[in-house]
Amino acid sequence: MDSATISEPRPATSGGAEAPPRLRVESVTKQYPGCLANDDVSLSVEGGEILALLGENGAGKSTLVKVMYGLVAPDAGTIFIDGREVAITSPAEARAAGIGIVFQHFSLFESLTVAENISLGLDNAADRRDLGRRIREIGARYGMALDPGRHVADLSVGERQQVEIVRCLLQDPAILIFDEPTSVLTPQAIEGLFDTLRRLRAEGRAVVFISHKLEEIRALCDRATVLRGGRVVGTVEVAATSVNDLARMMIGRDMPAFGSDHAGKPAGEALAVRNLSLSPADPHGTALDDLTLVARGGEILGIAGIAGNGQEELLAVLSGERPVADPGAVLLNGRQVGRLGPGARRRLGLGFVPGERLGRGAVPPMSLSENGFLTAHWRLPLARRGIISPRRRAAFADRVIDEFRVATRSRATAAQALSGGNLQRFIVGREILAGPSALIVAYPTWGVDVAAVAAIHAALVALRDAGAAVVVMSEDLDELLALSDRMAVLCRGRLSAPMRVRDCTPERLGLLMSGATPLETADAA
């Protein structure tokens, strides 16, 4: 790809016998056993254009992305770059053809450093030279502070995504595919990312932007190709299409309602952390610094913050994965539970939905009924004297699947076979049906489709109305603002005093999150 073609933006609306599109995908069909993932899918994207690829989970976006990146061989279909047919049978060929991708599910190696991870994705030895400096450079240019020497295992979800983005940008691709890149960014960071994407567009690159967030697509994209059930529903000019129309195309009906009414009625204290200081278990972690948190029954408390400011540590302290020496540092319904582990806390009425669905929220190869049993048996009589009751276990799983509309063949399906949205519905449902008096939910809608987001939000609100305390930790500020009754900001291991959500603006929160405004911590009684 010669640089002149990249640096000269082509007007997206040129008429007449114009040049062929930068990337054209023609009639891609891919049949999996029991599922037609892509059915005659075509799309095209011009240089200097951002195309939104819109669709629910299971609509076939991931398969299409894999086809474009050479990871999946389609049964039929052709890819053209600048009008020439190209055979892309491996990621290396895709990269050589100028296609770069930022995956939704990160292809990162935990035990390797940031620089090593990025180096693995670079095919030319020349690109790998002086890598540390270039990572810092690109990171700084696009507002991502990455330390090349850190191990990925110690990075948060948000930071891991930054590694993927930098890796992709380092290859200077003419075509960039972003698979749901904004789900974990702060408003400022999303704006930063959008600036980056607009700059890439201005440089004449073709960008494919995959997202569920319709406002983002409205703010950023030129055209949108909408997929549903493996087929293209249509391609529209974004400026001429309303959010509701986009939603209707995507899910086939009207947009479901998000968030909550902010009408929580905070009652007694359900879950509290008192003046807790704690050094991190991980050498790269964040120490908690005199942290006080009070969540009341009947409210949703949102905890905002940029990844790596103590989220992992606070979650571990709340869930009991990391017991603390002082029993009174963590209180559940007034009981001192600091030294209790996760199981004992669940028995006392704590529910926990961790950020990593597979591996922490669910055991990937185990069935849904087994996964349901694993956490619910602390609260519900699913076993007697250590002997599992298969009937009750099945009944519980079926109830979760039924009430939370988990799309699965049966309760015997392995957790790892479910899409992100469906598995999250199951995990949230499982926790709620165990009847907790306090529920901690981390990153509830990361990589989850629109319908599932609405369902999960509604479930959390219903739990709140039933009198439980709900603590939601997220890096997605829009979601927290939509859902919370009160919000607190976590920054450098310190937690601000909670603010009523109507006093919060994204700008104010953003400043607190970045540490630009000092936090006022809660006064522990």
Binding site: S90, S111, L112, S119, L120
Partner: protein
């Protein structure tokens, strides 16, 4: 009180005892870094031992003997490679089968060499080092393979940390799905690693039959292959610690033999346990940091790789 000559003799003996372990364990380390556990080290050492001995005895050319020993070990490891990588056989079962197969095959082919003697690989004088005061004589009594083993450890440590090849190997072992997604051939990398591991185990075996006891006896590895496998884990997949562990094992092995000779009032079976106990204890003590182990242990270790369509 302390007999310098005895101490030096123990040192020489310990360094030689450690050498086959270093070879075999380094090979296994590379295999495990690629994400496979090959429990067939014992079997591969045995075929290496019989092949090395046969060539050493008939040609007197030890370079050739070690080469053929390596090839024999590598050839056997390919059985494991095909089973595990292409037929998706459970890695542990395949490794155990390899140990049994190697034991049987080496006994079968070794029949005609059984009980024959040869003059083993002779020590070389290390220029420079042999001039050192007191310990200098040690460096006149070691053969070249002792140094080759150490060089191999340094080379592997460097390659794992500093080269592209090492990075790709670690990546494949850490997360084969991600490595596949990035376009690396998981199967090819693992196949090469397994063959390398086989070759190193074969060299280790040949060292036993060509240097330590220059003859062939059925089952002469006597569990050293298993020690090598254990060393890799207790050394938290670090070549330097593998060498340290092997030395320690060699030292305690030799010392307990001398202890038995001196008629210590401790049952000889207890003394015979010492090398294993001490090695494991020391390695466990120096690698207690759970975080560092998490970073060193290959994430996909022992898992079968099935590329998703």
């Amino acid at each position: 009180m302390i007999d310098t000559a005895l101490v030096l003799a123990i040192l020489v003996s310990a360094l030689r005892t450690a050498t086959p372990l270093i070879f075999a364990a380094l090979g296994e380390l590379v295999v495990e870094k690629s994400g496979c556990v090959n429990l067939g080290v014992e079997g591969m050492m045995l075929v290496g031992a019989v092949a090395g001995f046969a060539i050493g005895l008939t040609t007197g050319n030890f370079a050739l003997a070690f080469l053929v020993g390596a090839l024999a070990g590598a050839a056997l490891s390919l059985v494991y490679g095909v089973l595990v990588l292409f037929l998706m056989v459970n890695q542990y079962a395949a490794g155990l089968a390899l140990t049994i197969l190697g034991g049987g095959a080496s006994a079968f082919w070794g029949q005609r060499w059984q009980g024959q003697n040869m003059r083993g690989l002779q020590p070389v004088e290390m220029p420079g080092l042999s001039q050192l005061p007191v310990v200098g004589s040690v460096f006149t009594r070691l053969d070249i393979m002792v140094y080759v083993a150490l060089a191999a450890a340094a080379l592997i440590a460097w390659a794992l940390l500093r080269t592209r090849l090492g990075l790709v190997l670690r990546a494949v072992g850490e997360n084969h799905d991600s490595a596949h997604a990035l376009g690396f051939s998981v199967i090819r990398v693992r196949f090469a690693a397994i063959a390398f591991g086989g070759a190193m185990a074969g060299i280790g075996g040949a060292y036993l039959s060509c240097v330590i006891t220059p003859l062939w006896i059925e089952g002469m590895t006597a569990g050293r292959g298993w020690i090598a496998v254990a060393l890799v884990v207790f050394a938290t997949w670090k070549p330097g610690r593998v060498v340290l562990g092997a030395w320690l094992f060699g030292l305690v092995s030799v010392m307990q033999i001398h202890g038995q000779g001196l008629g210590l009032a401790v049952p000889s079976h207890i003394l015979a346990m010492l090398p294993y106990l001490v090695t494991i204890l020391v390695l466990v003590l120096i690698s207690r940091d759970a975080t560092r182990i998490r970073l060193a242990a290959p994430g996909s270790l022992g898992k079968a790789f099935r590329p998703t369509a």
